[in-house]
Amino acid sequence: MSFFRDVIGLDIGSRYAKVVRAVRRGPFTVLSGAEEIALPEAEEDRNRLVRVFLEEKGLADLPCVIAMRGEDMLMRVVNTVPGDAGSERAIVEEQHEHFEDLTTGNVVSEYCVQKNPGEKNQIVFAVAREDAVRRTLDSAAEAGLGTVNLLPVPVALLNAVSWLLPSSASPLLCIDIGHAATELIIVRQRKLLFQRRFMIGASDLQDTEGVFSDTRKFDQWLEELAACISFYRSEFSAEKFTVSKAFVSSRSEFPQECAEAVSRRVGIQCAAFPLSVRAPLLTNPGRYTVAAGLALAGAGQNMLKISLLPAVLREKMVLQHQIRYWAASALLLISSVLVLVLGMASQLDNAENAFGRRSEMLERFRGMERKLEQLKDENTVLRTRLMPLTVAAWNAEAVIALLDAVTVAKDANDWIVLIADAAFYDHRPGAAQNNAPASGDGAVTVRDALLDELVIEGYTANPDLSSVQAMIEKLREDPYILSVDLLADDQVRADAGRDKSWAFAGCHLFAIEVRMVAP
């Protein structure tokens, strides 16, 4: 059975309706909001009053656990042979037949096995007529209750005793004095050992003001109690089943002398239902024992999984309660998928941006490369276009540069007698000079027009041409001169007139070929 985080236990008795609220936070359960209201005689008025009462307390919308009173229900605890599953099934079937024989009409039954390792197990049966169950549920529906469970009163008492009272190794007796009847249970280690009900209640024992006053009825009540205890003792004679304490819960305060009388009669120390450290907000636990037990069952602190609510109804209530969680889970799942979609959208956006950046970068690089190639091509064209002009201006500068360099480099005792470009070196003055370009259309190449090869003739007094060598070395250092060397002897021009003119000096002719650095 699932539990509810916020649930009320509603004990609708003959004269009063009592409610206790249980709020569960994790492993902790807090009991609070213990209230009661007196009920009128008429059924419709009772239901309406309960509804109004709960609405005033703000508890009307909470799930509700209600009790099935003993007059409409039977409970039985049957011991079994330990370890014999077959006997358990046989007992269940036997009890079911027995109950069907006892009642007319359909029944609602439920059982639960209490396992005691090493000892006998108990099978707890609860049976109620179906029409009684339906009547109870219909009343609850009229009162606008969100009923989520229908428990027998002894089960509620078992929950209350197990949770509110300190744990005890020996069994505890709980006596709940209702308006018309008294329920008693014996609990050992949070398991129901024994349960009885007899028809003497507060209406018999108390006056109109709720004071225990009728001693004769009290004595009858005491005898009934003693008979129940005696029967228990006959069934559970072992020492370990000896009841150590008895607690009485009732709407009115149970007088001390009554408690002492109980103690004397049944030999069990008796007291009113004490305050519980586990429910500090429950200031009168004796009055609200059943309601507390019902609320604890709704909060999942159910010691005995017995419910008289039909399975279909239980499922209905669970589903009604769960639907909000199903809806929340669905929303969460859809939200998670949407988060995935958003994440994927973000990744897609990032990938698109990364793609865009790279495309842009690549296009930029390629654009720059194209532009660079274009510029290089243009510059190549321009350099070619510029060359004729460059050469035209360069030729005279080359001659001037060579003359300046020779002036500095030559020995003072050497003479320079000729400077000519290589093509004009052997030119005879006055000879025809066509100067026509090789091509018929008049176009010339830049190479043809370049004066980068020049010849210098001179005379030196040094037969070893050492001064010429020195001059050549110096000329080689000039940045405008690419190479310098003596002209090959077979290329020196033959000029008888020159030789004759300079024969008197007794000097030696030298000819140097100079190649200038081209533009």
């Binding site: 549920l137 219909d138 529906a141 009229e142 039909p310 279909v312 499922e315 209905k316 589903l319 009604q320 639907i323 669905a330 859809i334 998928v337 979609v341 994927m344 990744q347 990938a351 793609f355 495309s359 970068m361 690549l362 690089f365 720059m368 510029l375 243009e378 064209v381 070619t384 276009r385 510029l386 004729p388 002009l389 460059t390 035209a392 201006a393 030729n395 005279a396 500068e397 001037i400 007698v417 000729l418 400077i419 093509a423 004009f424 070196y425 030119h427 003055p429 000079q433 066509n434 100067n435 026509a436 370009p437 259309d441 008049g442 176009a443 830049v446 027009a449 004066l451 020159r498 008197f504």
Partner: protein
């Protein structure tokens, strides 16, 4: 009177609706949205891998910065060429700035009379100038006043203009003895452009005697704007003795003109008149500014 409804079909149906709706929505989101987005993302990732491979050479060897540096260098080179072009066209064009008449250069026969007149004027002027400077010039300026039917008047005029300018430079350089001056065949230097953009040169062979400083004067003067001549050949020889500084120089100088618009190095080729030159014309005495 309310009765407790024991039928849980509605609750089960509602929960089933929630579950089925959730399932349908989730499946739709997966199938219609998430999976297509994932496919697109994977497609982009594949493209990114491809692009990274294409980018790798650029990033490992060539950075955007180095490409930009290269671009800047080439652009600077272009500007250098453009500036050099302006400088050299201004320098090299022998007749730049000289006012002339474009109508002069028509292919018709009427150009010969202009040559005759120009030749007479040039000879008169140069003879006078030579006398004033005590310079010996060859007769007929090396050209002669005759013009044959097969000779192009335009070319003859350019030759005359070139000779006239060169002799002016020779006289102004202090050279006293011009032995010979003779025009040679014109030359064309293509400018790597369509035909009508070229540098036309009118070379002349000149032979003279002078001393070293005068020839250096002439060479330097021929490098100045407005009196530029391209030196194409030179043969300079000390002729006499060790103590004499007399040099006999024989040189080929070329006077250049540009055909076609050459103001911009890119030589804008659109809608140009074939006969339009850099300067507007030439006449006998109007060769100078």
């Amino acid at each position: 009177m309310n009765t407790f409804d024991t039928d849980n079909h509605i609750e089960r149906r509602n929960i089933a609706i929630i579950l089925i709706s959730t399932g349908v929505i989730c499946i739709l989101l997966f199938a219609a949205v998430l999976l297509p987005m994932r496919a697109r993302k994977n497609s982009y990732l594949n493209e990114i891998v491809r692009l990274d491979a294409e980018l790798e050479p650029y990033l490992s060897q060539v950075s955007e910065e180095s490409l930009q540096l290269q671009l800047d260098r080439e652009a600077a080179r272009f500007r250098y060429y453009a500036d050099k072009w302006k400088e050299l066209t201004a320098l090299v064009s022998t007749f730049r700035g000289v006012k002339a008449t474009t109508d002069l250069f028509s292919p018709s026969k009427e150009g010969r009379i202009d040559f005759k007149i120009a030749f007479f004027e040039a000879r008169e002027r140069l003879t006078k100038k030579a006398e004033e400077n005590k310079v010996s010039l060859p007769a007929d300026l090396g050209i002669g006043e005759t013009i044959a039917a097969t000779e192009n008047a335009e070319i003859q005029l350019w030759r005359l203009a070139a000779v006239s300018r060169l002799l002016d430079a020779v006289i102004e350089s202090g050279i006293k003895n011009v032995i010979e001056i003779r025009p040679l065949e014109p030359r064309i230097y293509p400018l790597n452009a369509p035909e009508y953009s070229a540098m036309h040169e009118y070379p002349m062979l000149i032979r003279f005697r002078c001393r070293y400083p005068q020839v250096m004067n002439l060479i330097r003067r021929s490098q100045q704007p407005g009196s530029f001549f391209a030196l194409r050949h030179i043969h300079g020889e000390r002729k006499e003795s060790l103590t004499s500084d007399a040099l006999e120089i024989e040189a080929v100088y070329g006077a250049a003109i540009f055909k076609g618009p050459v103001d911009d190095i890119l030589l804008d080729q659109t809608g140009r008149d074939e006969n339009r030159y850099l300067f507007e014309g030439v006449n006998g005495t109007g060769m100078n500014e």
